[in-house]
């Protein structure tokens, strides 16, 4: 994943785009990565635990929230899914840059 990011940055840096446009593309990349991880994370959160927490405001603590995330990510397969999801979205960006001639 890091390798794709390096490749994308090198392509963008070597283009004749303006620095402001380059920075905006990097921020889009960053947000796309975040979005990919968020989607994978939410899809693995326990629906029962989530429902239970949301229906009890006093239980909605930062510790409960952290525990919910940790439980969702405890399987290595979930981390691999997140990683793959990040690769997917970065590959999509790579294709878009190719189409745009960057």
């Amino acid at each position: 994943m890091e390798e794709i990011v390096r490749r994308l940055v090198a392509r963008i840096e070597n283009s004749n785009l303006m620095d402001t446009d380059k920075d905006r593309l990097y921020v889009e990349m960053q947000h796309a990565i975040r979005s990919a991880v968020r989607q994978a994370l939410i899809s693995h959160v326990s629906k029962d635990d989530l429902k239970r927490l949301v229906h009890n405001r006093s239980a909605m603590t930062v510790d409960a929230y952290v525990r919910l995330i940790c439980d969702a990510v405890k399987e290595e397969a979930v981390i691999e899914e997140m990683h793959q999801s990040m690769i997917d979205v970065l590959t999509t960006i790579e294709q878009a840059l190719t189409e745009a001639g960057v």
């Binding site: 994943m1 090198a10 004749n16 905006r24 796309a32």
Partner: protein, 168 residues
């Protein structure tokens, strides 16, 4: 005079090209988000956002990110085995990003349509702050990088993947 005009045209052309590239990349990301967002997950996304909003009230983002990261890493001690160094690095990087995601509020509304409109569902304030951080990374890159240095874009790459240390 002619040179000045040429320069203006060239700057305009670059700006137009930049807008075109950003638009194409943005559209592809939106499409990716649309394709990957299951239609039946809206309830979970809303519930998660509601929990996140309440649980993180008054907390600092870096503080929450550190807390999530530390808890996540504690649950994955086994992958710190040196024999699995490469895999470990991927796992740790992914956990770091997951921790950052955990520390960021989901925007509202977060319907599938809204997600697609906002591409990645990031708020305007977050975008502005990330853009500022990215500019700083670029400046640092220019100041510290020697020509022909192997990792010529290291600081920018680092900033893109860092995420766990939001400066706002």
């Amino acid at each position: 005079m002619a040179d000045d005009q040429q320069e203006i045209n060239s700057e305009e052309a670059r700006a137009a090209r930049g807008a075109e590239v950003r638009s194409r990349v943005g559209e592809r990301i939106k499409q990716w988000v649309r394709d990957k967002t299951p239609a039946n997950s809206q309830v979970e996304r809303h519930s998660f956002a509601a929990l996140q909003k309440k649980a993180l009230e008054g907390q600092s983002k870096p503080g929450v990110a550190a807390k999530v990261r530390s808890a996540l890493e504690a649950g994955h001690v086994v992958v710190k085995d040196e024999a699995k160094a490469a895999k470990s690095k991927i796992v740790m990087k992914t956990l770091g990003i997951a921790a950052t995601v955990g520390a960021f509020f989901d925007p509202e509304p977060i319907s599938k349509a809204a997600l697609a409109t906002a591409a990645t569902g990031i708020t305007v304030a977050e975008k502005a702050a990330d853009l500022k951080a990215m500019k700083e990374a670029r400046i640092a890159q220019k100041v510290t990088t020697m020509p022909n240095q192997a990792d010529a874009h290291g600081k920018i790459v680092e900033r893109i993947l860092q995420m766990g240390n939001p400066s706002y």
